[in-house]
């Protein structure tokens, strides 16, 4: 996911949406999918090609949770913090994950192995608590199941 910034690839992402300013949110998604985040170079190029000011683009980037401005960890683990999951122990599950991964919620571990984030509802509320790793959603996650999922991530996340 994290690749070196390349202006021609960035232009491709922007042109997929014909550089239409109303597609800015979709274009930013394209950057996150490609690079994992929206950096300064990206904001500058998007602003140029969409004929917007950098401040306007930055305003949109900073408004939405999905648009990071820093590279995330190798793996992104999200634990639902909303009411249905709270009712099934997501607070305790989150503490367990923080301890297991060695990183506090809303943070990326210093070795860049993993980012732990809250998410407010994955729509899996009848099978709480819910966890998302990458794009994959898991239901009825207890400490043991979470340990298994985290152990299977491999790489530097262990």
């Amino acid at each position: 996911m994290t690749t070196k910034y390349d202006a021609s690839i960035a232009a491709e992402i922007i042109n997929k949406y014909e550089a239409r300013p109303e597609m800015l949110v979709q274009i930013l998604h394209g950057f996150v999918e490609r690079y994992g985040f929206v950096g300064d170079e990206a904001i500058r190029q998007i602003a140029n090609e969409l004929n917007l000011s950098r401040a306007e683009v930055h305003g949109v980037v900073s408004f939405y949770h999905d648009f990071r401005t820093e590279p995330p960890g190798e793996h992104i683990v999200k634990i639902c913090q909303a009411e249905a999951c709270q009712a099934m122990g997501s607070r305790a599950l989150t503490s367990h994950a923080e301890e297991k991964l060695g990183v506090a919620l809303n943070n990326t571990r210093s070795d860049g192995g993993v980012t732990l984030e809250p998410v407010y509802c994955l729509g899996n509320c009848a099978c709480s608590p819910a966890v998302m790793i990458g794009e994959k959603v898991y239901g009825r996650v207890d400490n043991e199941k979470l340990d298994g999922l985290l152990d299977s991530l491999g790489g530097s996340s262990k």
């Binding site: 949110v25 909303a82 009712a87 407010y120």
Partner: protein, 505 residues
């Protein structure tokens, strides 16, 4: 002879291993795997169905580790096994429902146009083309359908307002930003019967004279996104979207937009801003979106379930729909049983049954087996109810009368281990995180709310701080521009009122 096995492609089932199960079964000789959606009995997911003598025999909840044992036990012949649930048509949880909008969910292969057409697919749109826009507007009005996103505004009146305007461009904007915790009916409908939503949006476009529709889907639903992308492509390829749909002379297409993790974008004007590529900051009303909506043009903004209910209303008749329900709450609502509940899932029923029937009869009580202590209905902005209030009938007016709301039909159950002061604090905290920041009562009030609740819990100037919290709630209710700040006080106040013992001493 090959054996057909249905394996759901729906988030709850997939979150418990349905993809892996489908892959494993597909590799078995003479097995034909069909990916349906979900019937909505999430507690039984992944629920597999084997077709034996034209009857579907259900097994669930099946984990990937059960598959070898099931095969050995002869489940491909419908043989007995502890996970065997019997014929799908005899599962009490399902047959005791009144399925209107969700009737195809689980039944059909979700991404098959042939299966869709074989099950009354596009019958509503065909009826619309035969009878004209006026007929559609009359039918939707006569059905009594109200917005299922939570606000409950009469759908036909909204459509009429847009239809009457004589302008060059109008839009349909489908709100699929289902952010309320405890709700998943939009997701389930989109994943299980995506062509139905496309049909509903197209009917709305035809009725009001719009040529373009948008679906604003939250990014937390990646599977839904893939299903919708495929369904839109299928509809275009088969001539149910695009120019001159089925020779009717009507042009219409739908564009899918992704949200970006912002709860407030479920508010209709914030959603319109986001669809325009901007930050999801809410707009002042008036002007209403029916007059000045997307890109300043008249726009019908409707929730997924609202639009998804329309094809059936046209196909079967508005009077059939209006026969369901009580008083001014006509039709059915897809209730969603969530949180600490033994049999969680989707239950589509006519308005008017009680919360107790849903939680006890369908839901089977808490998953933990402990007593129910609190229930939050209608999402994070809904009031907390007590176990004594469970006999309240589920309809818009009865809920409004006890200071609560039916909302989008989400029901989150908590057992007696819940700390209601923490839940009240969370309501304010959530508002602080998700406020768009346009108005002060919401932006600042929520931050102060967390602080005041912390002081109450810590027993600092208790009486004074409770008084202050109540005043803050009044300010937020009276002074906020939208429901985010205006309703966050409901869960807070109800927690304080019904569960004061949790707020320190």
């Amino acid at each position: 002879m090959s054996v057909t096995v249905y394996v759901p492609r729906e988030t709850a089932a997939v979150s418990l291993g349905a993809h892996e199960i489908a892959e494993k079964l597909a590799a078995v000789e003479n097995v034909n795997v069909i990916r349906n959606g979900s019937w909505g009995a999430s507690w039984l997911e992944p629920m597999l169905e084997v077709v034996v003598d034209d009857q579907r025999i259900a097994y669930g909840p099946v984990s990937i580790d059960d598959v070898d044992e099931l095969l050995a036990a002869g489940f491909l012949e419908g043989a007995d096994h502890p996970l065997r649930l019997g014929p799908t048509t005899e599962i009490a949880y399902l047959i005791n429902q009144e399925r209107w909008t969700f009737w195809r969910c689980g039944l059909i292969e979700s991404l098959s146009i042939d299966d869709y057409l074989a099950h009354r697919g596009f019958a509503g749109l065909k009826k619309a083309f035969e009878s004209g826009p006026e007929f559609v507007l009359d039918q939707v009005k006569a059905s009594g359908l109200r917005g299922r996103g939570g606000a409950g505004f009469p759908t036909g009146i909204k459509w009429q307002a847009v239809a009457e305007l004589d302008v060059d461009q109008k839009y349909i904007a489908c709100n699929a930003d289902e952010g309320d915790s405890g709700t998943f009916s939009d997701r389930l409908l989109m994943e299980s019967d995506p062509l139905n939503l496309i049909e509903g949006i197209t009917i709305a476009g035809y009725a009001v004279g719009a040529s373009k529709g948008y679906i604003y889907l939250r990014s937390e639903y990646p599977l839904t996104r893939r299903v919708l992308e495929k369904a839109l492509a299928i509809a275009r390829e088969s001539g149910w979207l695009g120019k001159n749909i089925q020779g009717s002379g009507f042009d219409f297409d739908i564009e899918l937009h992704l949200g970006a993790g912002s709860y407030i974008c479920g508010e209709e004007t914030a959603m319109l801003e986001s669809l325009e590529g901007k930050a999801g900051v809410i707009r002042y009303k008036p002007p209403l979106p029916v007059i000045e909506g997307l890109f300043g043009k008249p726009t019908v903004v409707n929730n997924v379930v609202t639009l998804g209910s329309v094809p059936q209303i046209l196909a079967l008749g508005a009077d059939k729909y209006a026969d369901f329900g009580v008083g001014r709450s006509k039709g059915t609502l897809a209730f969603q049983l969530a949180g600490n509940i033994r049999r969680g899932g989707l239950v589509e029923k006519a308005f008017g049954l009680t919360l107790r029937e849903l939680i006890e009869d369908f839901g089977g009580g808490t998953a933990s087996g402990r007593p129910v202590r609190a229930v939050q209905v209608g999402g994070p902005l809904g009031a907390y109810l007590t176990a004594e209030q469970l006999d309240t009938p589920m309809d818009y007016e009865a809920f409004a009368a006890i200071g609560a709301m039916v909302g989008h039909g989400g029901i989150v159950v908590f057992d007696d281990t819940v700390d209601m002061a923490q839940q009240a604090r969370f309501a304010m905290q959530f508002c602080a995180v998700e406020s768009c920041g346009k108005c002060t009562p919401c932006r600042i009030g929520s931050v102060r709310g967390v602080e005041v609740i912390d002081r109450i819990i810590a027993n600092e100037d208790r009486e004074k701080n409770i008084h202050l919290l109540n005043e803050l709630c009044d300010t937020m209710i009276d002074g906020s521009l939208c429901a985010m700040g205006g309703m966050t006080p409901f869960p807070v106040r109800s927690a304080l009122k019904y569960f004061p013992e949790d707020f320190g001493k």
